[in-house]
């Protein structure tokens, strides 16, 4: 019995011991370090993605990254390099379209499908396709080396500093590009800069959740935050906090259960979103009175 306990990860009510247990192996330490940085970045940039209505573009960027990632592996180059080159190039083009990017879902979808096709070709040309494909598509957070953690930290710092520097004009341009432009905000340049930063964030996040599951870290936390606050600064903080919590919870559960981390992160994100929708619609009912149609009728007929 005692022998078994030494092999099996221990989980109990002693939180200090649980945390010690969680960080016993370097691969878990690295996963927590990289995961936290990636989630923080994804949560912050996700807020702007949602406000700018670019969630499909973010999704597409990750898929375009798939071709870059597989291409890099084929050429024997680092995965992250291929991801960055492809996503930044695609991001810059999307950014140059600016506000016209909204409603370009068809064009983006066509480019996305083609790049997935390219990725499949690169995989076919490369031996050992299956494991590479799985790791790019669904993330490899438990296989992150120290060097990758450092790279992720650098990329994360660049992303956060850049977003902090453009916070106000980016928000202004996102909400009201015409007035922002008249006020002297470089709307077009900001649009390109934002998409390039998003490309960097997406490339980072691919390591954790993979290209297929990127929504869970970039869009879901921001979508939840949007339901609970209408103050941009709070929305940003809530979105980042949620992304980090999802990642931590996913990693912790995956340590004790023999299933993939990505599954737990996306599942927690999904159920949190459902819960958020339920709670916010209940709050709305309570705030506006129940049942709502009757109240609206009252307002309409009031003098």
């Amino acid at each position: 019995m005692t022998g078994l306990l030494l092999i099996m990860p221990y989980f109990g009510w002693d939180l200090v011991r649980d945390v010690q247990e969680l960080f016993r192996y370097p691969f878990m330490q690295h996963a927590f370090e990289a995961g936290t940085i990636v989630a923080l970045t994804a949560g912050v940039i996700g807020y702007f993605v949602v406000v700018r209505g670019l969630s499909f573009a973010a999704h597409a960027l990750s898929h375009i990254g798939f071709a870059g990632g597989t291409g890099a592996v084929l050429l024997g180059l680092p995965l992250i390099g291929g991801l960055l080159v492809f996503t930044i190039a695609a991001g810059a083009v999307m950014g140059a379209l600016g506000q016209r990017l909204r409603g370009r879902d068809v064009t983006i979808g066509i480019v996305m499908a083609w790049s997935l096709g390219l990725g499949v070709l690169f995989l076919a040309l490369f031996n050992g396709a299956a494991s590479t494909a799985v790791s790019i598509l669904f993330g490899t957070i438990l296989g992150i080396a120290t060097r990758d953690v450092v790279l992720t930290a650098i990329a994360g710092a660049i992303t956060l500093v850049a977003l902090a520097a453009m916070y106000r004009p980016l928000l202004f341009a996102s909400l009201d590009d015409e007035v922002a432009q008249a006020k002297g905000v470089p709307v077009q340049a900001l649009s390109i800069a934002f998409m390039v930063i998003l490309a960097i964030a997406v490339s980072e996040a691919v390591q954790v959740v993979g290209v297929l599951l990127i929504f869970a870290l970039i869009v879901t936390p921001a979508a939840i935050a949007e339901r609970f606050t209408i103050r941009p600064s709070r929305g940003l903080l809530l979105s980042a906090t949620l992304a980090v919590l999802f990642t931590w919870a996913g990693l912790t559960i995956a340590y004790y259960l023999p299933y993939p981390v990505s599954f737990f992160i996306t599942t927690i994100a999904f159920w949190s979103y459902l819960l958020a929708r339920l709670v916010s619609s209940l709050r709305l009912r309570v705030a506006t009175g129940f049942p709502r149609p009757w109240r609206e009728e009252q307002f309409r007929h009031s003098p």
């Binding site: 949602v50 406000v51 209505g53 902090a164 520097a165 453009m166 916070y167 106000r168 004009p169 928000l171 202004f172 909400l175 009201d176 015409e178 007035v179 922002a180 432009q181 008249a182 006020k183 002297g184 905000v185 949007e226 339901r227 606050t229 209408i230 103050r231 941009p232 600064s233 929305g235």
Partner: protein
């Protein structure tokens, strides 16, 4: 006109021409607008009213002639010019408080984020602007969920927050009901009086604006002209301007009412400037 008068004027246009891409929209525009004037800009769809605003904002250069706004060449980011663009209603899901939206008019063009020390002065200015448009009751609600008239007041507050001297309002009355049209018109007029603002307001329906307008600037048939309402707002002039029959009725109190423009404003085609 003496040079000193020209320097004092809010807007001086001298033989200005405007193009959209390579297409000439209008030319030969020469007019002077005095400080504190309330100008209504009239003209059919696509005649280049919004293009005029883009010139005044410095977003596009004049194709010919010279233009001075508050004694300077038009330039982007001029804090003395407040602007409310033509728009459809804001997205219902815009997750932003009205107050934060107004706040962007104060510092949205500055880099970085707000430092706590600066915040107090900013909040006072934002409060004042919201008060000026009587939007306190709903300033803390999500802007996407407000009615058209409420949104329009907050947009106006955003334009006012930098203490401008010139206001450019592109169809602020569009898609509002009659009560809100009159309410916004009166609000803009009283703000213009108390804050000594020069106002240019693009409109399709002149009726709610008749009590407050000083002069009418009309943009049509490739040209721009300015005149007193009594001269411009006559059946023959308006009919020529819009190319469709328009009548001006006068009641026993001396009030005017324009009939026929509603049909014109019914089909909203995209303006070339947009």
């Amino acid at each position: 006109m003496a040079p000193s008068d020209r320097a004092r004027a809010a807007i001086v246009a001298d033989d200005v021409a405007a193009t959209y891409g390579r297409r000439l929209i209008w030319r030969g525009a020469s007019f002077t607008i005095e400080p504190g004037e309330f100008i209504v800009v009239l003209g059919p769809n696509g005649s280049g009213k919004s293009t005029l605003f883009r010139l005044l904002l410095g977003l596009i250069p004049p194709a010919a002639g010279t233009l001075a706004v508050l004694g300077q060449r038009p330039r982007r980011g001029n804090a003395q010019v407040g602007y409310v663009p033509q728009r459809r209603e804001l997205d219902r899901d815009t997750p932003v408080r009205g107050r934060d939206f107004v706040h962007l008019g104060f510092d949205g063009h500055r880099w970085g984020f707000e430092l706590p020390g600066v915040a107090r002065a900013a909040h006072r200015q934002v409060d004042e602007a919201i008060e000026a448009v009587n939007a306190e009751p709903y300033a803390d609600r999500s802007i996407g969920r407000l009615s058209g008239g409420e949104q329009q007041r907050l947009l106006l507050a955003q334009a006012l927050v930098g203490n401008p001297r010139l206001l450019l309002l592109d169809e602020p009355l569009a898609s509002l009901d009659l009560r809100n049209q009159v309410g916004i018109s009166e609000l803009v007029a009283s703000l213009a009086r108390t804050l000594q603002l020069t106002v240019l307001l693009i409109a399709h329906d002149i009726n709610p604006l008749l009590p407050v307008v000083d002069r009418v600037l009309y943009v049509a048939h490739g040209g721009v002209a300015i005149g007193k309402p009594v001269d411009v707002i006559t059946g023959p002039t308006l009919s020529r301007l819009y190319g469709s029959p328009i009548e001006v009725l006068h009641d026993s109190h001396g009030h005017m009412f324009v009939v026929g423009l509603e049909a014109e404003s019914g089909h909203h085609e995209a303006e070339p400037a947009r």
